[in-house]
């Protein structure tokens, strides 16, 4: 069958630091052009280093009516791809042919104006997304019903709760009727019930014979909605094929998470002639490495290693990073009661680090492992020794559906007291 989307060798190059020097001012341009000849001399041969390919040689075809999942780590180029397909930005190389109208849910609520009412925003947002006025008017009641906002229809959206805002935004976007629908992570927001509703709507869209490109980190959703999946890795297509097998490879290959790694050969395992790793894993205290971890789960990180040097005083040091690369904590076994500070005989050891529940925030975490001798000399270090995803927990959300800020998310004790019935006015 003829494809509805044909992407051929698409690449997108960004200048590194484009964010910082996003906008320039004339003075900088003048000084830059004056000093440019000198700079060019100095920078000769390093010009490639100043740019980065967010996408490189990406080619694929999508047949009409297909629901395609696009997966990959943050920064793999998923969003750039959707931005090119939706014509927001131009590719540096290659071309994409689209044989149908495109509608995107790149970020819902685009074009909402806080001062306008829900009713007004439905029309405005619909128009921004490319709907005709008559089309919006025809679907108006359906949109309002889907968003469940009939009570506040004529209230400015700045007074809406974040939940109401998201529901309205998704409702408008979901009632677009393009032949190709691009969806990017809209399911990351909202409560479980609403998410289920969104997934149902997407399924319905697909069943009407329309084509959907679905970008998500939610592998369960990808597997249930998509038959075919494209896995992007550093801007290139790492694998493309049946959803189940690609997702499995993606999860297994450590791109998404690595909750357990085993090295059987004491000659080639990571380390050196003094210490080598045998096994690392992270698991819920009451489960195995394949069990899910959410923000409430107490977890344990276990490191098995061979010591080859008799009498070495070893300790491990863990750096835990979150998705943004922020160090969440650095943990050392300084109060470990049995072996800390003692000479280690040769043999296999296991050090376990217990992380209580209600401490980590949701998201991908990675562990930098350092093996330290005599509490000062780093014997070796292993980046991404463990990579694991901490899921959100609905019971800790309350009515807030947005991103939960913070490197950690402890469940702190609160107390509110009623001190006095009298309200004193100064």
């Amino acid at each position: 069958m003829k494809p509805i989307i044909r992407v051929t060798n698409v690449g997108k190059q960004y200048r590194i630091g484009a964010r910082q020097e996003a906008y320039t001012n004339l003075r900088e341009v003048v000084t830059a052009s004056l000093s440019a000849p000198f700079k060019r001399l100095r920078r000769r041969g390093r010009r490639d280093a100043e740019t980065v390919w967010a996408l490189k040689n990406v080619s694929f075809e999508v047949r009409p009516g297909e629901v395609i999942g696009i997966i990959g780590r943050n920064g793999a180029g998923k969003s750039t791809l959707l931005k090119i397909l939706s014509r927001i930005t131009e590719p540096t190389t290659g071309r994409a042919e689209l044989y149908g109208r495109i509608g995107s849910l790149l970020e819902v609520g685009t074009g909402f104006h806080p001062e306008l009412t829900g009713r007004e925003n439905i029309f405005l947002n619909g128009a921004v997304l490319g709907m005709k006025r008559s089309e919006i008017a025809r679907k108006f009641d359906e949109i309002v019903a889907f968003a469940e906002i009939d009570q506040v229809l004529d209230t400015p959206v700045k007074h809406y709760s974040s939940g109401m805002y998201m529901r309205l935004a998704f409702a408008v976007a979901a009632h677009l009727e393009p032949e190709i629908l691009l969806v990017d992570e809209v399911l990351a927001v909202g409560d479980a019930e609403f998410q289920a509703k969104c997934l149902g709507k997407m399924g319905a869209v697909a069943s009407e014979g329309r084509t959907v490109l679905f970008v998500s980190h939610n592998m369960a959703a990808v597997q249930s909605l998509c038959r075919r999946v494209i896995w992007l890795e550093r801007g290139e297509v790492a694998e493309e094929g049946q959803a189940v097998s690609v997702v499995q490879n993606y999860l297994g290959k450590g791109s998404a998470s690595a909750t357990e790694k085993v090295w059987d050969d004491p000659h080639t395992a990571p380390g050196d002639d003094k210490v080598r790793l045998h096994r690392v894993r992270v698991r819920p205290v009451t489960g195995s490495a394949s069990d899910p971890i959410n923000i409430r789960t107490p977890i344990v990180m276990e490191f098995d290693y061979w010591n080859f040097e008799p009498g070495a005083r070893l300790n491990l040091s863990l750096h835990l990073y979150n998705e943004q690369g922020i160090t969440v904590f650095n943990a050392l076994p300084l109060r470990e009661p049995v072996w800390h500070g003692k000479p280690f005989p040769t043999g296999l050891f296991r050090s376990s680090c217990y992380v209580p529940g209600d401490l980590l925030n949701n998201g991908l975490h990675s562990v930098l492992l350092l093996v330290v001798k005599d509490q000062g000399t780093v014997i070796f270090s292993l980046n991404d020794a463990l990579v694991f995803n901490v899921r959100d927990s609905i019971e800790r959300r309350g009515d807030w559906h947005g991103k939960w800020e913070g490197a950690v998310r402890p469940d702190l004790k609160w107390k509110t007291e009623y001190l006095d019935a009298e309200v004193t006015t100064p």
Binding site: N25, L26, R95, E97, G100, V128, R133, L199, G203, G209
Partner: protein, 291 residues
Amino acid sequence: MTNAVSSEELPSLRTPKLPDEPLFVVEARKSGMKFHLKDWWTYRELLYFLIWRDVKIRYKQTLLGAAWAIIQPLFTMLIFTFIFGRVAKIDSHGIPYPLFAYSALLPWTFFSNAITTSGNSIVGSAHVITKVYFPRLIIPVAAVCAGLVDLAVAFPMLLALMLYYHIGFTLNFFFLFPLVLLTTLLAIAVGTWLSATNVKYRDVKFAMPFLIQIWMYLSPVAYPSSVVPDRWRLLYSLNPFVGIIEGYRAALFGQAFDWKSIGISAVLIGAWLVYSFWHFRKTEKTFADIV
């Protein structure tokens, strides 16, 4: 994930008939000259909605609301009347000075507000530009068109002044419509150019207020263009606003039109418009990346 529908179970109920030629081709654009007229037609309603939005929110959370559209030119007129009419005693050719000034301040206020909002419009719409596609040119054009509502609000004040000073209406009055159109086109030309330049050089935002001020004094707003010596007249009328303002006054006060300066203005505006659109199309492909 209870409601999720497995795609395995879904038969394709209808497979849409695909066109032979792609509807859109996304690739690196080489020239800025290609103009997606089809796009404009598809998105004509968005233009309407953006104008409607700008008008709607302009005076929200203001105490005086749309009255601001009158207050601005009116107070400038009062100040001008005092400084130029009373103190400097500028000759307004038999037209009462307040009316003389207001007749020029009306298009000028529209123009200066229009290019200010239009010039900042692309930067102000960053959140939309990075999320959805539509012809970007709609944004600065809509910003200019929204200003026409203010012009309409301030217009009755002009009629009231004319009645007060017993200035009769002539058939020339109907020439106001093409003149308003010309003013709008000039505002679109300038606003579009500023909005595109502003994305890369935020200097525009700071330069705009005083450039507008300088431009006003280079235009016959507070004085008649007859004060400019004859040998400088041709150079003077290279300012497209000169022909426009003289045109407004001729239309309102039943004077003879200076077709030469109006013609020069029209040609300049046309050329500027073409250049601005070209400049805009050339730079717009980087908007989403740097805005």
